[in-house]
Amino acid sequence: MATTALPSRGYLEDDTPTVWAWIKSWLFTVDHKRIAILYLLAINFYFLLGGLAASVVRIELITPQGDLLSSDLYNRAFTLHGIIMVFFFLIPGIPAVLGNFLIPLMVGARDMAFPRLNLFSWYLYMIGGLFALSAAVFGGVDTGWTFYTPFSSTYSNSNVILTIAGAFVMGFSSIATGVNFIVTTHTMRAPGLTWFRLPLFVWSSYATSLIIVLATPVVGITLLLVAIERIWGVGIFDPALGGDPLLFQHLFWFYSHPAVYIMILPGFGVISELISTFSRKRIFGYEFIAFSSMAIAIIGFLVWGHHMFVSGQSVYSGLVFSFITMLVAIPSAIKVFNWTATLYKGSISYRTPMLYALGFIGLFVIGGLTGIFLGVVAIDIHVTDTYFVVAHFHYVMVGGTIMAYLGGIHFWWPKMTGRMYNEVWGGISALIIFVGFNMTFFPQFVLGYMGMPRRYHVYPQEFQVLHVLSSAGSTVLAIGFIIPLIYLTLSLWKGKLAGDNPWDATGLEWTVSSPPPAHNFDEIPVVTTEAYAYPPEAAERDAAAWRPGSPL
């Protein structure tokens, strides 16, 4: 299999006599690292599927007449894109892949607190995914990922129940992961690893888990109510049957706004790791970054009403939600400033993960700032439900979460597989994604302010130029996503052996071999230093050691 044998026995290897035994050793594994790999494969499959749906949507929007797809097909395409990306890629993405792989390693534990629950969560994810997939195969669903009632509960003639079942089951997979993270962080830390010595990735995952545990059950029961209303024909959310459609929106956004932070917070954690490592110095303002994650998690629960400024809520609640939304911008700003300050007097290298991290900051700043636009009610009235919103959340979700996900994958790839990928292609693809992304989504801000409503497949002529620009950008973006897929896969066979710590990073995960042994640590480590314990002269030494020809 490998051109050169990997050193020591990693978690990837085992001595199974038959193929069947090998498959079983994966499908019944309780090793958090193997579960992370299972998640990696499944989640990337859904990412590609969601991306395919997005391409269909973008191709349709090149012309204003809606000549490629019927309205029904178009509605199914963007709904599929939304549901797959939100529920099956963005929400589980970083926690289930990177979190599962890294948290036990980072806290110095042999596994998660509940390994079998961890495996169970992967099966739940797969079952939920199968539900959603079969809903798509057997005719699709056309409610949009938001499932607004009474359209979803009474009027839609598509596979709403099947899709809801998928999201519902997937929710329990998230909950299982969240419970595991919280308990692992609390009880499994190695001796000496105090809370303020934890890597920031663990902090942000902890904050994420709190949101998962508190918010996911609410959307679970909400979606269940929609399904019951469809089956039974009894009005909970349909006013024609005595219900209240706004109740659905309140319950839905009570989960789905915090869910936005479920998607982005782990990304913050990844970026903190990357910036520190590739500046060769301690992260600036550790406590502020850690606490801003917690602040976001808490305030994030109080802002759901900003999705409903034009839905008919009272002026007072509009003002209150707007005010709290303004406040939630501050912790995000604090993070960005601290990352920037970390660069100062560092010894910066442009390795592939760092390029993603820098790209993340640039895109997230735009995403965050336009979030303030949307938080101001007077402006939100004009731009909500237009492409402005579409552009905004893609800047946060794609520009933020996916950049962080890819950055994290590139950073820990040598640890996960023991091999290095081609960094020339890594840099090129990071650049292509950054350019393609801006081409795709920046025009959408303009489109939105011009008044182009979202979820339209036919539109007035004057919007076409910007739509064409956006579709052109999306092809570039697609190429940018395909390149890493190729060179990362190739690296499994052709890649150079990475060694235990290819980036000279700190952190317990880099003290074990690459790939790590099945039980992580022979002896549970005793931690005596804080995270990012680069000595003061590390940056200087690193810069002094640089010679022309060393990696940039």
């Binding site: 178009y74 406040l327 920037t340 303030i372």
Partner: protein, 351 residues
């Protein structure tokens, strides 16, 4: 190639202030989002590992710095918040005197009716320099009434009224969109808003046109050649006829001596309820009281009114509400019809 504008037209009194706030936000964003990348680029180059630079005395954190970049953005966003808040309150507070137009949204068209009874589909004619208030409801799912050139948008919900107001400033034709996803032909639930001078509007209003009812059937345009029948009855009059034919008039007598409270002067007045609470009798209260009379009963009256849920179309509800509101319209006494007059009108019709 079509033209390539970056801003929508400014055609209402809100457009200017909202664009100004938007402009200021863009300027602030450029200061942060524009300068920050340059700082990052500078640091990336200055402290790249190949560069000789002073890397001693690295700061690990600095409370003054943290406070600075917490407090300055906080002050800025709060300033923006208050600016936006006052603008928002303006947008949500219609002036006392305005032109009321009723809107019904349904999959997938807009139906509007003017106070003199004239109806339109997927079009809305409004006069300029005149506050217009839309009273909107939906027959099925949630829609959203959106006029980009006016910078206004409001969701239209089934089972209740939502309102929105604007004052157009420029004659012309503008896009009308449904902004809330409402099913298959959502993208075709579009139309146009025609802003015209007051004189033109009045001329247009009294020009008979084809009457299309919200259920899609073409209404009786008129066997008669008179103007009024072919426009349809004024909404308040149609409501008054309903008020009589449904028998409401038997209990809700003008003089207050009936089983139910008098509806004269009720609209938009705070009224004491049986449970002691005070409720403003707005459109939604009137609607609720017709469909679910027991929900909020006026103090001093028994809950004996039957529910009219399922017996009235959205269209008829609008007319009833318009009639009850006309009973409070002291300013224009000429349009106000007393119950006796209605009885007369209805009697004439029946002959």
């Amino acid at each position: 190639m079509p033209d390539f504008p970056l801003f929508p037209e400014q055609a209402s009194t809100f457009a200017g202030p909202i664009d100004a706030l938007y402009g200021v936000l863009i300027a602030l964003s450029l200061i942060f989002g524009g300068i920050l990348p340059f700082i990052i680029l500078y640091l990336m180059v200055r402290y790249h590992r190949s560069q000789k630079a002073d890397r001693r005395n690295q700061p690990e954190g600095s409370l003054p710095l943290e406070l600075t970049w917490t407090i300055i953005p906080l002050v800025l966003v709060l300033a923006v918040f208050f600016w936006g808040a006052f603008l928002y309150i303006d947008i949500r507070t219609p002036p006392a005197r305005n032109l009321e137009i009723y809107v019904i949204g349904k999959q997938w068209m807009w139906h509007t009716q003017h106070s003199n009874g004239k109806r339109e589909n997927n079009e809305l004619h409004v006069p300029i320099n005149q506050p217009v208030k839309l009273i909107m409801t939906s027959q099925d799912v949630i829609h959203s009434f959106y006029i980009p050139a006016f910078r206004v948008k409001q969701d239209v919900l089934p089972g209740r009224y939502t309102t929105m107001w604007f004052e157009a400033t420029k004659t012309g034709e503008y896009h009308l969109f449904c902004a809330e996803y409402c099913g298959t032909e959502h993208a075709r639930m579009v139309g146009r808003v025609v802003a015209m001078s007051l004189a033109d509007y009045e001329r247009w209003l009294t020009t008979p046109g084809e009457i299309i009812l919200p259920d899609g059937s073409a209404g009786a345009g008129g066997s008669g050649s008179t103007l009024i029948p072919s426009i349809g009855d004024p909404m308040a009059l149609a409501g008054a006829q309903l008020f009589t034919s449904l028998g409401c008039v038997g209990c809700h007598r003008d003089d207050g001596a009936g089983i139910g409270p008098s509806l004269v002067g009720l609209y938009n007045v705070e009224t004491r309820m049986q449970d002691g609470s005070l409720v403003t009798a707005d459109e939604n209260y009137l609607r609720e009281s017709i469909l679910n009379p027991g929900a909020k009963t006026v103090a001093g009256y028994a809950n004996v009114m039957p529910s009219y849920d399922g017996q009235l179309s959205e269209d008829q509800l609008n007319q009833l509400v318009a009639y009850i509101k006309s009973l409070s319209d002291s300013g224009s006494a000429s349009t106000r019809l007393s119950n006796d007059q209605i009885a007369g009108v209805v009697a004439d019709e029946l002959k």
